[in-house]
């Protein structure tokens, strides 16, 4: 668990946190929107310490650039991206009264941010520059004569686009709340909540199944997670930053990162709360077995709490691990749980005779050690062939055919432990409230598993727990801390940045055909009061799909308008002087 952190009120801690911890990338202090400072373009050609100039004849390229009528100033430099280089460019912008500039050098994917900050520093709007990639996509891949000619064309087409750039809107929006809304009733929820509150941020834990008040342990999977759940729950209850709303659920959720509003239905009426981020931490919970079943057939969860009570006398235990992957019983951890509880039983009662019947020994990673330890302790493993059935007359007997030896076995048992049948929160309802997609098998979809694990398409809403996909307890803990860290880095950022390459609707042209609303992955467009489409620039991620499909050409996008793309393409086809 995280080290004991001196608990202070969230806001007080912020000043400390932001200075020491790198806040969410790209959120350095940015100047507010600056107007268009005219169309005098400066072209800064980078030698890149020879990486470019060794192949591209930069002087002839500079001469060509100077000949372009849209270009007012050209300079060849060693390293425009260096501190000295940037200072020099800053000076030139002021001195030569440049409205916008082109940097001909390496890929914008690596240096876009540096020059965006430079533009702001120079008092220009941050999008009033364009980068011509004459290094990776020119100097590095063509022979000198071709590279030089290509560099001329690239600079000419980039300049023609730069000529048409428009000042893009930028906003830095202060967070109206730095609390996290954690929704869920299982282990992931309490662990995520504890991670967030331990770092000094307020948490509102909404737990639909009300496990947090009665501490209904058996609603959690078996094994050691039960103790972890109880311990974390106690810590949450004693933490003033955490507010528990058990037995309640979120019925409305809207707003933007740092400024969400949630309507929560609690046992005693509805309540409106504000929060800065949300973590969906739904776990699959074991369903309660049917009441009328034989008392001697219990589920792993029940067996877990039995072990917890440390009073176990039964000698013969047979565990049946169901491995079919039908929807309800997909229990990734079924086998791991069985082995774990068999080991705990052996500790309490070394003489116990334990058999585990399971067709696939899915032990995942280090759990394989438990598997070996269990075998050493004399736990019997049987791979069944065909059905396993139980005779109830007199003492319980488990009839199974061993797949490897084809022997039909009849095992006496005091207790039969079956795998839990896991039930998942009704994903559809929750997904529609939080506007996040569900995949074909009914699990929540994590957006970029490689780049932003634990995040969803709805910015500011994070995801963990096995409702995002079947998970072992260890994986649930990992997922909870991932989601919590993502949420904290959002809550800790001094402001939320919005704008830049975002789409914008021209209400004059919009024929309200709703195509943009249907197509946007982030539900950024909406219909405003004038019943025209409008794009919420805080939600828009700047992909441009809506711009492409709008049948009335009503949507354009800063940095990639149709006019800019046309001019860039035609200049690259006609330019270069050859």
């Amino acid at each position: 668990m995280t080290p004991e952190v001196h608990l202070r009120k969230g806001d007080e801690l912020i000043s400390l946190v932001t200075s020491t911890r790198p806040a969410r990338p790209g959120s350095r202090r940015l100047r507010s929107v600056a107007e268009d400072k005219g169309d005098r373009i400066g072209v800064f050609i980078c030698r890149c310490g020879g990486a470019v100039s060794r192949t591209v004849d930069v002087d002839s390229v500079a001469a060509h650039a100077a000949s372009l009528n849209s270009v007012a100033f050209v300079k060849v430099m060693e390293f425009p991206c260096s501190a000295g280089g940037r200072a020099e460019i800053l000076e030139d912008i002021r001195e030569k009264n440049l409205g916008r500039f082109v940097v001909a050098g390496c890929s914008p994917r690596t240096h876009e941010k540096i020059f965006r900050a430079l533009a702001a520093k120079a008092g220009l709007n941050q999008s009033m520059f364009e980068i011509a990639n004459i290094r990776e996509q020119c100097a590095f891949v063509h022979v000198p004569s071709e590279a030089t000619a290509k560099a001329k064309v690239l600079i000419e087409s980039t300049a023609s686009k730069c000529n048409l750039l428009l000042p893009a809107p930028y906003e830095q929006i202060p967070l109206s709340s730095r609390k996290a809304l954690v929704v869920g009733s299982g282990l992931s929820a309490v662990v995520a909540a504890s991670h967030v509150s331990d770092q000094g941020f307020g948490v509102i834990l909404v737990d639909p199944r009300g496990t947090s008040n009665e501490g209904e342990a058996n609603s959690i999977k078996a094994g050691e997670s039960v103790e972890l759940f109880d311990k974390t729950l106690q810590r949450l209850k004693s933490n003033p930053l955490v507010r528990m709303l058990s037995g309640s659920k979120v019925i409305e959720f809207e707003g933007h990162p740092g400024d969400f509003r949630a309507l929560i239905q609690t046992p005693d009426g509805e309540e409106d709360i504000r929060c800065g981020a949300a973590i969906l931490a739904f776990d699959a919970s074991p369903t309660h077995a049917a009441e009328d079943r034989d008392r001697r057939e219990i589920t792993q969860a029940e067996f877990g709490s039995l072990l917890g009570s440390r009073v176990v006398k039964m000698e013969n235990i047979v565990m049946i691990v169901s491995d079919n992957s039908s929807e309800e019983t997909v229990g990734r951890g079924n086998y791991v749980d069985a082995v774990a509880s068999s080991l705990r039983l052996k500790e309490l009662l070394p003489s116990a005779d334990v058999t585990i019947i399971g067709s696939e020994a899915r032990m995942y990673g280090l759990h394989e050690l438990d598997h070996i330890r269990a075998q050493e302790r004399g736990v019997r493993f049987i791979r069944p062939k065909g059905e396993v059935d139980i005779k109830h007359e007199g003492g319980l007997r488990v009839l199974v055919t061993d797949a490897s030896s084809d022997a039909a076995l009849s095992l006496p048992a005091d207790l039969v432990v079956r795998s839990d049948v896991l039930r998942f929160e009704d994903a559809k309802k929750v997904a529609s409230v939080f506007k996040i997609p569900i995949n074909a098998r009914g699990f929540f979809v994590e957006s970029e598993v490689r780049l932003e694990p634990g995040s969803t398409l709805n910015r500011g809403v994070f995801l963990c727990g096995s409702a995002a996909g079947p998970r072992l307890v260890s994986e649930e803990l990992l997922g909870a801390s991932t989601a919590a860290s993502q949420a904290v880095s959002l809550l800790a950022s001094p402001f939320i940045e919005a704008g830049g390459t975002v789409a914008e609707v021209d209400p004059e042209k919009c024929s309200v055909c709703l195509n943009c609303i249907r197509i946007c992955p982030y539900t950024a467009p909406f219909i405003n009061e004038e019943s025209k489409a409008e794009i919420d620039i805080q939600t828009c991620q700047g992909c441009g799909i809506c711009v492409g499909i709008c049948p009335s050409k009503a949507i354009q996008m800063y940095g990639y308008t149709d006019a800019q793309l046309f001019s860039q393409a035609s200049a690259s086809l006609r330019g270069g002087g050859t």
Partner: protein
């Protein structure tokens, strides 16, 4: 809404073969929504015509314009200047729009770039289904809200015919049989009695077979005197 589809490009090129100045006139309402004649389609058609012209030395001069609604005289008058001096105006609004433009500009040669098809609704993105046949005497209250005139290939009032197979119409198997849907809808509404009785032959006078229709909202019609004063003022 009105559903329409662009004529094949080769056909449009043939129609304006010997012209020089060509205007492509789009419309922002129905045809924009069914992706046939909105501003984007105007751009694509104009660009395609320019490419065709360059390829075949036609020296066409293509210009583009979009009207808020081509079936509204005031909106159409706004594109008067761009119609001036054009050899042909390719209207990619529905057939209504093209004819309103012709009425206002009798000397201009109007070409319809679209094949206007029916009154229907978007079913899913990119798919538009006919819903109403405009028969002037609606029977939806008898057929569980599904129109047999427009959506049954034989416009039957006592269907389904013998060719209804697993809910599909024999005439085109990917179209649901309207009467199969009517039967299920009425069953759901508990009103099957409506089609147990014979529905008598339909009065087709209000439909197009009774001649072009004219709808009058008397309360909005200007009297001759009002017209004089209004024209006088305009």
């Amino acid at each position: 809404m009105i559903i329409a589809e662009q004529k094949p490009l080769t056909e449009i090129c043939r129609i304006v073969e010997n012209d020089h100045k060509i205007l492509v006139a789009g419309c922002k309402s129905c045809v924009a929504i069914c992706l046939a004649g909105g501003e984007k389609e105007v751009g694509i058609l104009a660009e395609s015509l320019r490419l065709y012209s360059d390829l075949n030395n036609k020296e066409w001069e293509i210009s583009e314009v979009v009207v808020e609604r081509q079936c509204e005289k005031e909106w159409v008058r706004e594109i008067g200047p761009s119609i001036e001096g054009k050899d042909s105006v390719v209207s990619i609004a529905c057939g209504v729009g093209a004819q309103v433009v012709q009425e206002l500009y009798p000397d201009a040669r109007i070409v319809s770039g679209l094949n206007t098809s029916n009154m229907g609704a978007p079913d899913e993105p990119g798919i538009f289904l006919e819903k109403c046949g405009g028969c002037g005497d609606c029977v939806l209250h008898l057929t569980g809200g599904i129109c047999p005139i427009a959506r049954c290939a034989k416009s039957m009032l006592n269907g389904p015919c013998g060719g209804s197979q697993n809910g599909k119409c024999e005439v085109n198997p990917d179209t649901p049989c309207a009467w199969d849907q009517i039967y299920n809808s009425l069953k759901r509404l508990g009103r099957l009695n409506l089609i147990e009785k014979v529905i008598p032959p339909k009065n087709w006078i209000p439909s197009s077979s009774g001649g072009p229709r004219k709808i009058v909202r008397a309360e909005a019609v200007l009297t001759p005197e009002e017209k004089k004063t209004k024209e006088g003022v305009d």
